[in-house]
Amino acid sequence: MSASANRPFSREQRTTILYGMLVFVLIVVILQLWLLTATMNAWLGGDDSVVWPAAAVSAGGLALNVGLLKYLGRIERTRNAGA
């Protein structure tokens, strides 16, 4: 492994990564909001076939968001350890 692979990201690089993550997180949150309202509408209308699939998709979105947040924490810890 080259030395550059272990080099921590600079603050400018981390800011760029953070913006990229925010785009993903915002898209997923908007998707979850739509999913929640659509599921609620269907369920109140008596259609309960979408309840658990929608919950599974929403859980997947949450897992993606938490994973991105954990990755951000990891590159910050790498930075602090390397400083």
Partner: protein, 214 residues
């Protein structure tokens, strides 16, 4: 033997900086050992002017602008992940409510009224399948009866039957529903009223089921 290596950071007496004597006091310029700062350790003001050009208050309480920006975005991302978790909890809540609804099973048969109790265009309010679900039974014709849940599908205000106008009226936000089908005809509601399935046995009217609709 002459040492030809030169330190690019400043003028050093080659003779004194020989391998045997390097590091001795006086062999290097003072700037050689001056602390060097990384870019992230330097405070950058909002106007990007040097620290000496900043007002006194900002020199006393400097805020590193790029770092402040980074921390703000990071906190915003954390808040968005929290929002994402809240939506996930909402989905689970619907799932739990759905499980509860299925567990309770089909609604039981319940006597609502007698045919003789209702005049043409008359209405009677009852609760079905439990005491928390108000419903309204309306007589349309001699043998025609309809019953719907009384909660408006917009924000659950109680709808009022208006047989003369051919509909139900929600006074909260001017919502209107068709009297025969319960379908929304005006105002903010988008879903029809919950239909109560009726069964007429002899002279008595029974509620036998609930039909949610989209």
């Amino acid at each position: 033997m002459t040492d030809t290596r030169r330190d690019p950071r400043g003028p050093i007496d080659v003779a004194l900086n020989s391998p045997e004597r390097e590091g001795l006091t006086g062999t290097a310029p003072a700037s050689l050992y001056a602390p060097t700062f990384e870019r992230e350790q330097i405070t950058i003001a909002p106007d990007f002017a040097p620290a000496d050009a900043q007002p006194a208050w900002r020199q006393d309480f400097p805020i590193d602008w790029p770092q402040d920006l980074y921390v703000e975005r990071r906190d915003f991302m954390k808040f968005m992940v929290l929002t994402s978790a809240a939506f996930m909890v909402g989905q689970l809540w619907i799932g739990v409510q759905n499980w509860w609804r299925r567990r309770n099973g089909e609604a039981l048969m319940q006597r609502v009224a007698s045919i003789d109790d209702l005049a043409m265009g008359g209405a009677v309010v009852f609760t079905y399948p439990d005491e928390h679900e108000p419903c309204v039974l309306v007589r349309l014709t001699t043998s025609g009866f309809v019953a719907f849940g009384q909660k408006c599908t917009h924000l659950s205000c109680a709808v009022i039957p208006r047989p003369g106008e051919g509909g139900f009226y929600c006074p909260c936000h001017e919502g209107r529903f068709d009297l025969r089908t319960g379908a929304p005809t005006a105002g903010p509601p988008r879903r029809p009223l919950t239909r109560i399935v009726l069964d007429i046995r002899g002279r008595d009217i029974y509620a036998v089921g609930v039909e949610e609709r989209t």
